[in-house]
Symmetry: C2
Subunit: 312 residues, 2 copies
C-alpha cells in the first residue's frame, strides 16, 4: 500500500451561491461535504485508480467524526484504510464558496486544532509502524498548531531509513526543514519554490532545491504543467491546451499520478504524463477535488513530455 | 417553563477574517461555534435571565450532534431542557464572516435537512405533549424542506386550544398561514410586514396584520425600536440613542424580553422595555447572539416607551 500523511486534515465544504457579495446574506443552494486535506485528496485519487492506500494524520471532534464517516462512505471498493490518530481538538473546516455564475471560488480556511505533545508522539508511533509496510509515502500539506516545525524532516528520515520512497508536498518553513532531510521527491508550486529559494526562475529554483537536499524536484507551474529535475534527467510535461474549470485539488491529483506510476516502477516520462493528465482531469471535473475518469484516459494520450536541456 | 420551537435549527459558525475579498483565499483567525436558529437563541437569552426553558425542533447528523453538545455546554445553570427530535438529515450550518477591520458581516446559510412526514409527525407528538406544561410558546424561524408550509398554523392552534400564550416569529408564507390561525403575538420586522401586507407603512401594516388574525403585533423597526399594536393599546419603544455593534441575534433577544415579561404578567410597557433593552445589549456584545448583561441593566432605565396615537 501507499501511505499518505495529512497532519492538518479538514472537512471540506463546497458551497454554491448565486453571487458572493461581501456584507450581505446568501442562501447556499448546494452543499458538498468531503474529507479533505491534501493527503486525503491524494488517497481518494489513488483509490479511484485502484491502489490500496492507508491514511494517517489527526482527526478530532464532531468534524473529525464526519470526516472519518465520509472517508468510509466515499470508498466503495474498500481500498482506503483509516489509520488517523484521534486528537482532543476538533478537525478544521475549509469552505470553498463557488460563484454559480462565474465558477470563481473564495476560500475560508479554519486554522486547525492545537495538537499536544502526547498526540504528536502517538502519530509518530503510528507512522513508524506503518512505514515499513508501505511501497511509498506522501507527506502532504500544512502543519496544525502544536506540531513541531521540523515534523516533516523527522517523517522523511524514518522513511529513508526504511528505504521507502518519500514525497513531500508542503510549503514555508516545514518545506525548508523537510528538504534538508533529503526526501526522494518534492512537488512545490512556483510560489513555494520562490519562497524556499528566493528565486522566481523555476530552472534556477529547482536546481537550488536539489542542492538543499531533495533528490528530485517536480515543480508545478499551473497551466504550464510540470518541470521535473531528477538525477535521471530533466523534463517538461505540458497539458493538452488550456484546461478550463475548477483547479481545486489539481496539485493533489498530480501527486497521486506521480505515486501511482512510481510504485509501478514506471520511468519519469510516464510518471509525469499521469500526473499532468490527472491534474487536468481534476480541473475538468464539476466537483472540486474529483477527477473526470474519461477525460483522464483521453489526456493520457495528449500530454507532451519533452526532455529539458540543461541550463547553461 | 417557556417552550421555544426551532424547526430549522443551525450550527452557527462565526469566522473572523482580516478582510473578506471575493475570489481569494482567507485564513480564519477565530472560529466561534454556537447552537443556533432563532428559537435556540431565544432560549439561551431566557436561560441567562434565569428562566427555565425547553427547546424543541429538529437535529440530525454530526452537525446536530455538535449543536446538542453545545446546548449542554452553554447552559451552566441547567435551565435549558433539550427536547429536540432526531432526524436522518444533517442540521444545517450558518456562517457569519466578520471583517476584523470594519466589523461588517457576510452570511452564508445552508438550506437545512429534508424532513420526512414521519419526522414531522414525531415533532407534533413531542410538541403536543409539551404545550400543556408551558407558560408560553415561541415559534421561531424558517421551515426546513419537507415541513408543510402550514406548520405554524397547526402549532398555533394547539397552543390556543391549551390556552397557552403563543408568539410567532417568522416570515413569508409560513407567517401568512400562521397569522390566520390567530396567534397571541407576532414579531415581524419591517421587511416581513411589507411582504405580508403589501404596505411599507408600519402603522398600516400592523393594523392589517391584526385584521388577518394576530392578537398583538410587535413590529421591529431596527435602530428605531419597536411599534406595538395590541388590544390593550399602542406604544412605541425606542432604544437610548444609536447603539453600535453586531445586530446578529438582536431580534431573538427582543422575543426573549417579550416572553420574560409576559410570563411575569408585566404590562406592555414593561415587556417592550425589556425587549428593546435586551436587543440593544445584544448589539453591544462582542460575540454574535450574546448580550452584555451590564448594558442590559443600564438600558432598562433608558428605553423610552410612549403611547402611540391611534392613526387617523
Amino acid at each position: 500500500m501507499i501511505l499518505t500523511v495529512t497532519l492538518n486534515t479538514a472537512l471540506d465544504l463546497t458551497y454554491r451561491v448565486p453571487n458572493l457579495r461581501p456584507h450581505s446574506s446568501h442562501r447556499v443552494t448546494e452543499v458538498i461535504e468531503r474529507p479533505g486535506g491534501k493527503g486525503l485528496n491524494v488517497a481518494r485519487v489513488l483509490a479511484a485508480l485502484g491502489r490500496p492506500v492507508t491514511v494517517t494524520g489527526f482527526a478530532g471532534g464532531e468534524t473529525g467524526r464526519a470526516l472519518r464517516a465520509g472517508l468510509a462512505a466515499h470508498d466503495p471498493d474498500g481500498l482506503v484504510t483509516d489509520a488517523l490518530v484521534p486528537v482532543a481538538g476538533a478537525t478544521r473546516r475549509t469552505i470553498v464558496v463557488v460563484d454559480a455564475v462565474t465558477g470563481r471560488t473564495t476560500r475560508l480556511n479554519e486554522p486547525g486544532p492545537l495538537v499536544s505533545t502526547a498526540e504528536w508522539n502517538a502519530l509518530l508511533d503510528r507512522y513508524d509502524a506503518l512505514v515499513p509496510t508501505a511501497s511509498a509515502v506522501a507527506l502532504c500539506g500544512s502543519l496544525p498548531p502544536g506540531v513541531p516545525v521540523g515534523a516533516y524532516a523527522r517523517l522523511v528520515r524514518t522513511a529513508k531509513a526504511a528505504s521507502v520512497p518519500v514525497l513531500l508536498d508542503t510549503g514555508g518553513e516545514p518545506l525548508r526543514r523537510g528538504v534538508a532531510a533529503r526526501p526522494d521527491l518534492v512537488k512545490p508550486n512556483a510560489e513555494e519554490l520562490a519562497e524556499l529559494t528566493g528565486s522566481h526562475d523555476p530552472a534556477q529554483a529547482t536546481r537550488e532545491t536539489r542542492r538543499r537536499g531533495a533528490r528530485a524536484v517536480i515543480a508545478s507551474l499551473g497551466p504550464e504543467g510540470l518541470l521535473a529535475v531528477t538525477p535521471e534527467g530533466r523534463w517538461r510535461a505540458v497539458p493538452p491546451g488550456l484546461v478550463k474549470g475548477n483547479p481545486t485539488g489539481a496539485g493533489d491529483s498530480a501527486v497521486a499520478g506521480l505515486l501511482d506510476a512510481l510504485v509501478a516502477d514506471e520511468p519519469w516520462p510516464v510518471r509525469l504524463t499521469r500526473a499532468v493528465a490527472l491534474s487536468a482531469a481534476t480541473v475538468r471535473a464539476p466537483a472540486a477535488g474529483e477527477f473526470d475518469a474519461r477525460a483522464y484516459e483521453e489526456y493520457l494520450g495528449r500530454v507532451r513530455v519533452t526532455a529539458d536541456p540543461l541550463p547553461s
